[in-house]
Symmetry: C3
């Protein structure tokens, strides 16, 4: 497999949709790209109708010219398999390819993504266009990567999907009796007597069977993966050395990216932070860390970001000057080897014509394009970072199955959510400059000094055993509330909770108690703090009570416990502490694990992360700050030396390579 950055350094570019423009613009594009340091463009994501105006009739001439032009200018092409947006002829000739929502409505073309993932005609036409593209461009010098589909996430509830779901369930359960047991169909008289009775979770009078819904999530994700694999295999057969990717969307619920990750050659992601969200820096960092986790620690690509405002929010805030560079370098710091944008040139028409681009409507002689060009150029100084890892001694466990199982109707509270919990626990590490890997349940934890499980509602026996073994072998574990509750069928594990972890935690509980307002707590023998939303009726079974509830019916009962088990330490948190309290807890767990941040004295608002030997410092705050540095170095972005500190204006970044001091 080729490595994209070999000879190119960091990748820089974006989606390029030349079919929206007359050919005279293309040449200007290529020149502007070269001037801006663009070395990778994604072409053809939404070109199916242009490439195949009617079934089986292809028009590749324009694409030939585009790829030739890119090759001439030394720009690599990430060539798309355009299956994300079928042409109108697909839905018109094969109406059964149009997706059906849970209420039974067909969705139409006129937008994009209008396909049933299980549809035969859709699958066949996908393979046909994939084969045609692969056959034609396999040897094109511009071809550097295949980009299958776009932001996979479609779901369909039609009868074809129902058949596919039944087939998937047969593979999973073998027989109906096993399915009935797994789904708990003795509840509410749901016993199935014939496979033909089994359907997707369609709109129903009341809450739908949670295991049916969990299996539906699994099936929908698997069905999309099956589609991806079909195209990938066709591509691999024709171009074994060209990597294949599809672009993720961060914490996107519909698709289990852990299952996708192993099937891809390169992990790539689309990332659109909300400029108005004060938690954006941490949330984005967490997303990047997830991508690094999906990539198994190897570099990944930021496939789409925006140079300014997007257009799909209700009120789309722009990025102030410097923000696009700050966000792009944040991705580099956290393992990205490529920084791409949607899109190169702002569209004049179509649903995204008000989405910011690298070349805005007003043209290249603009503040925005100047920023893009400067950023593209400065990335050359970071070429040495390409391929470097981001070392981390802390891991956070996150899994899609648990997310799906947790966030369904009919649970104690819809205010305790998987990604929110993950972010709450992530923030204190982010603020201390402690790098974190995001790993799936069941991951090998041996490399980590500290493992945090902010929430793992669903946990398998093996995964729970692995956490226990990790602690007993010397690890430090922090487990958040409402974890270990259900098994992989989403059946509640009976007994004092968390059933499969209570031994290692030295604590157990008997009731989950959503809170009506703020919850008064106190560090044992120490200061008070507040928690919110959630409490549990716990007892110590040997653990040290680190904090206790002080108000209401739980006064005096444990809130946070810490247990020495084997060679390690396990913490359990039975509530949702306020951020400062959670930060204190993180500090104590880090101390247990002997882990520190990359530097001391990190000012608020500054992100610090080390990639390879380079220390990245990024000022997300609104004021200029002085940041002490742990060793003398040189800023790769400016070439300036930094002896014992750097000064960072708002939105400024330093990328310090350590240097042997001259003295």
């Amino acid at each position: 497999m080729r490595t994209l950055t070999d000879g190119r350094g960091l990748l820089f570019g974006g989606d390029y949709n030349p079919e929206q423009w007359p050919e005279e613009v293309w040449k200007q594009d290529a020149e502007l790209m070269r001037a801006a340091g663009v070395n990778l463009v994604t072409v053809g994501v939404f070109s199916w109708a242009r490439l195949e105006p009617e079934p089986g009739r292809h028009d590749f001439g324009w694409l030939d010219r585009v790829l030739d032009l890119m090759a001439e200018h030394g720009i690599a092409v990430d060539l798309a398999i355009p299956t994300a947006s079928p042409p109108p002829w697909l839905g018109h000739r094969w109406p059964e390819t149009l997706p059906v929502d849970e209420g039974g409505h067909r969705l139409w073309y006129g937008s994009r993504n209008q396909f049933c993932p299980s549809s035969g005609p859709y699958r066949e036409r996908s393979q046909s266009i994939t084969t045609a593209l692969a056959d034609r461009y396999a040897a094109h010098p511009a071809l550097a990567m295949w980009h299958v589909g776009n932001e996979y996430g479609e779901v369909c509830h039609c009868d074809v999907s129902a058949r596919a779901f039944r087939s998937w369930l047969r593979d999973r359960y073998g027989d109906l009796a096993t399915l009935n047991e797994a789904w708990g169909t003795t509840f509410w008289s749901q016993g199935y007597g014939d496979w033909a009775e089994v359907v997707p979770p369609r709109r129903a009078p009341y809450i739908i069977n949670p295991t049916q819904r969990l299996d539906w999530w699994r099936f929908c994700s698997d069905e999309l993966l099956a589609h991806f694999r079909e195209q990938r295999d066709l591509l691999r057969a024709r171009t074994p050395s060209v990597p294949v990717t599809t672009n993720f969307m961060g914490f996107f619920k519909r698709v289990d990216y852990w299952s996708f990750a192993g099937e891809q050659d390169v992990i790539s992601n689309d990332c659109y932070p909300e400029p108005g969200d004060p938690l954006s820096p941490a949330r984005t960092a967490l997303t990047h860390d997830l991508m690094r986790g999906l990539a198994g620690g190897r570099p990944w690509l930021l496939m789409e970001q925006a140079t300014g405002a997007v257009n799909w929010r209700e009120h789309n805030l722009p990025k102030p000057p410097g923000q696009l560079r700050l966000e792009s370098l944040q991705a580099v710091a956290r393992g990205a080897d490529g920084l791409c944008y949607f899109q190169w040139r702002a569209s004049r028409f179509g649903a995204e014509r008000f989405h910011a681009a690298m070349v805005p409507h007003a043209g290249p002689d603009t503040r925005l394009h100047a920023e893009v060009r400067a950023h593209g150029q400065e990335l050359r100084g970071l070429a040495g970072v390409a391929g470097e890892p981001v070392p981390a001694r802390v891991a956070m466990v996150f899994g899609w199955e648990s997310w799906w199982a947790l966030e369904d109707r009919g649970r104690p509270s819809d205010r305790l959510n998987a990604v929110d919990q993950l972010l709450r626990y992530y923030v204190p590490f982010f603020e201390r400059g402690v790098s974190v890997d995001v790993v799936p349940p069941g991951a090998d934890l041996s490399a980590y000094a500290l493992v945090v499980v902010p929430n793992l509602f669903l946990v398998g026996d093996g995964d729970a055993a692995a956490l226990t073994a990790y602690v007993n072998g010397g690890g430090v574990l922090v487990v958040g509330p409402f974890s270990g509750v259900v098994d992989p069928h989403s059946h509640v594990r009976t007994g004092r909770f968390p059933v499969p972890l209570r031994e290692v935690l030295g604590a157990s509980g008997e009731e989950w108690l959503p809170a009506s307002g703020p919850v008064a707590c106190r560090w044992h023998g120490g200061a008070p703090f507040e928690a919110e939303t959630w409490t549990e009726l716990l007892r110590s079974d040997g653990a040290e009570v680190v904090a206790e509830f002080t108000g209401g019916d739980l006064a005096g009962r444990p809130a946070i416990l810490r247990h020495r088990s084997g060679e390690g330490v396990a913490w359990y948190v039975g509530t949702m502490p306020e951020p400062a309290a959670l930060a204190a807890l993180a500090g104590r767990a880090l101390a247990d694990a002997g882990v520190t941040g990359v530097l001391d004295g990190l000012p608020p608002g500054v992100e610090a992360v080390r990639r390879g030997e380079v220390l990245f410092l990024l000022n997300h705050g609104a004021t200029t700050v002085r940041v002490p540095v742990p060793e003398p170095g040189v800023d790769l972005l400016t070439g300036s030396p930094a002896d014992d500190h750097v000064t960072l204006a708002p939105r400024a970044v330093a990328a310090l390579r350590p240097e042997v001091p001259t003295a």
Copy 2:
């Protein structure tokens, strides 16, 4: 008909769903039940698919064993007719049994309640399973009651339902001309020329004909009642002495419980107070009083309540310790002879696995189960209360037809609602310890000293005449705003309002005037107060002006009037006074009627109600209070004597039986 409490005292138990558990658990269940004083369980509510895995094939063996086990342990069984949740095979084989919403969507199985009440196959399969169960268990010693369906409330808009609706309308109106007149179809060109044109109120471009909708409410309720009667008649034919019930849901809008009540042998209800609602104690008391009214003053059963948090709200608050006992005893105080829970053992799977139960997931060795057990045991001390009535000299009139007619689109304000108005008027009586009966329009009022009509938007001529006769015969009547507005066709009665009551009220009005904010009022010659939401342009036609508006265009106009008519007194309230003002008004009306509460000096937060000779005192407040008692007695719950007062901690209850003082 057997009386359930004979030989059993108060009933205690819950829904028991053994089909969710392996048989080895059943024996443990029976032992735990016995230890907890359980003497009644409801079995099989959701067992249709288990009992009839395919049409006509029955599997009763497991149920035989369950009933035998219960009989062995002396636990009576309320055996369910499981028609509330048909098996998937019903919808799969007869798709027309799946209900259709007003937008034309079929709803699917996968949850529960997926049936069209008018569907032929559904009706036939219901009768078949009912017959099979009745034939098999008619003589079983455990059988104590039949429980038909569950929480009736399904509605369907399909073509089968349309045919049934037309048939119902033919019965009601005879011919189309009469229907056209009743529905006022000259408005908006809705005249029907053929019965086949008449359909349910399906989704339409704008507001739907209100009489069509009112008749639809009536039809839907009647159609469910017809289903209930079909099963009941099959059961009665086989077990004439076994009572038949179906469980209500309090103020549930879709079903006219007054019409259901007369068809049932026992009134039973499901009651789930929202722990976070400060009005819960009064709202729940009102619901209990409604049940007593539906039962014609005889005892009723609390068929379902929760031991802790439910799972179907977004954020499900738990009950603090003592709360389950407090709520259960509140039901006893207000006429319940049975206290049952959903459900005995918390489910591991299915949509309600996070609903609290008598035995939680953590098992019997828990705080919660200990509370359940203690409560079940203490109920034995109240055995003598079973069968006793709750005397009341005040009645409040409430009817479903008026509720349906009022709360439709296109009225002056959607902030004046039937149940809210009822509760507003109920609260001051609740707070004074004055017992209230809830009665339907047209009820015999001769036993009451005071009758309150918080809102009766729709009133028939006869019902209005009965109210007038009641006053003229010496009664005291209080009528709230926007009453007497429409006739049973929901046609506005023309002339000064309230047309059929203005004579007895000695007052009349010409405009309903929703208010834009707080409304300034004053007691005539007295203190100011505020009202809200609603005003009316009224005049006295002989009534005394008790309060007047003081602000805006209505300044100086009457707000509340009082009229001596015949031997009695009639009040009219043309606004929505703040709670304190409404309490003052209630006090004056009580004085008119010569009615007082069960004791003087009732502290805030304490509910006082007498059942039979026993005085129940329940502390819903957050502080310990001293409550004076009207006579010496003994607390049946503790055996302690009470000479002149009792002290009640928060959530504490006393049940005082008067004793002849020893002196």
Copy 3:
């Protein structure tokens, strides 16, 4: 064409629906109408089912008697073509006439408006009833006007509509290639290869093609217009001298009233101000000015207003005494020659039975009817106003196509809206007593000293050129933000914006920047002010910087610019200034144009507008005010002289005709 007011003076009346009442009421109605000065009633708007109980069978006898009765009482009849609400038989016999929403649901009868505008059977039955009515009543002496349909606005997405849409698109574009280019179908792979593939914008997975949606808006409006024209032509052929109208709904988005206006003989409007909205007086004035613009400066009719509360809001506030007169006279002041109400007598049944009427449920002996009667009588004193124009030297440009194009998903901010912007710019002129004409893009502007373009997102080349020519010829122009952005295909015009206006504005921009909060600004060299929601990155290309941003990344950049171009002046406003700042800007533009209000010293809350020679002064405020008048006059409403001022209580109105002073 007859002029309705000849011999009648101002028209006064309302919708009259006698079919809802027994005939004995009709005579009483006629007498009450005469007493109230009613001289025009609209009859039969919702009488289709009554007039044609089954297809082809007519029952006109009752209508004959109604029209005879009106003629006997000297009351003119605006006779309705009742196509807005087809009888149930239409939908029952021809289900394809029932409209389908964008999700694919059919909407049913039971309300009103249930028709597909493109349906053949609907069109045929419309023509049939129109012909029958026209034939029968062409010569009836009561007939004064035809009223086609009611509040046109229906939309349907069915396959019949799809065919009609395709036909409309063929007429517009000729061939598919042109359509593909106009719709920009290279975006998201939407290229159409066959006309049969083209469909309405139905529910889709994501944002729908904006040009497809814009053309859909155009088509839907045109299709309704086609229906109107069909009936109108049938009527004109039979009664060439009887004017034809259909009633508008002010700023109603679905129908382009500019295109309807030219096809009508009389412009009429329905206007229901929200009593709780403090901006109602200005908003209503603006709507009236739009009607005058649609009428080309000629008088128009207020076809529907309410005497009090409506019934279709959630909480329907009433009108205080005097308010109905104030609102009615406001319409007269702004060019209305007729003041009609929905409806004469309050319905007893149907969806609008709680809508206020001229005769309330309580009858004629009421406060409300007395107000109606007094108002009808006083209108006689204003007879001389009929036919008079409202002179204006300021125009505001507003167009439906731009509105449709702007307010779609996928734009920078949904907080910048067409009508809101229009109102923001209108308010300062309203408050100064400066009359404003509302004109369409492309209107002849030569009569105006000042032209304001609050927002014109979509602008054609010719319309932009006309604005430029207007300025260069000596006009003063004010252009609001986000104007001139797209062309008639809704394609963004590339280059510095606003592309087609930047030369005349002497300014241009490169980024639209929605703001996260308040925006600090300053008048150049002067005082600070605030703006909100929206900013732009602008530069002067020769224009004077009148105000600049002072905070954030735009500090020091222009916010408002003023440019002398040719003989005129052009202003550009690149943000949304707070009301006081916008008022200051309006003052400076008025000074540039040499325009002043109708009088100096206008107190807050008082509206001043001159119609013909009569000066109307209307007090919308809550306090009594003294208003200086520019010349001695006599109040036509009271006959009182006014030398140098009038005193107006809240809701009072003066209508001053100048008199030569006696001295």
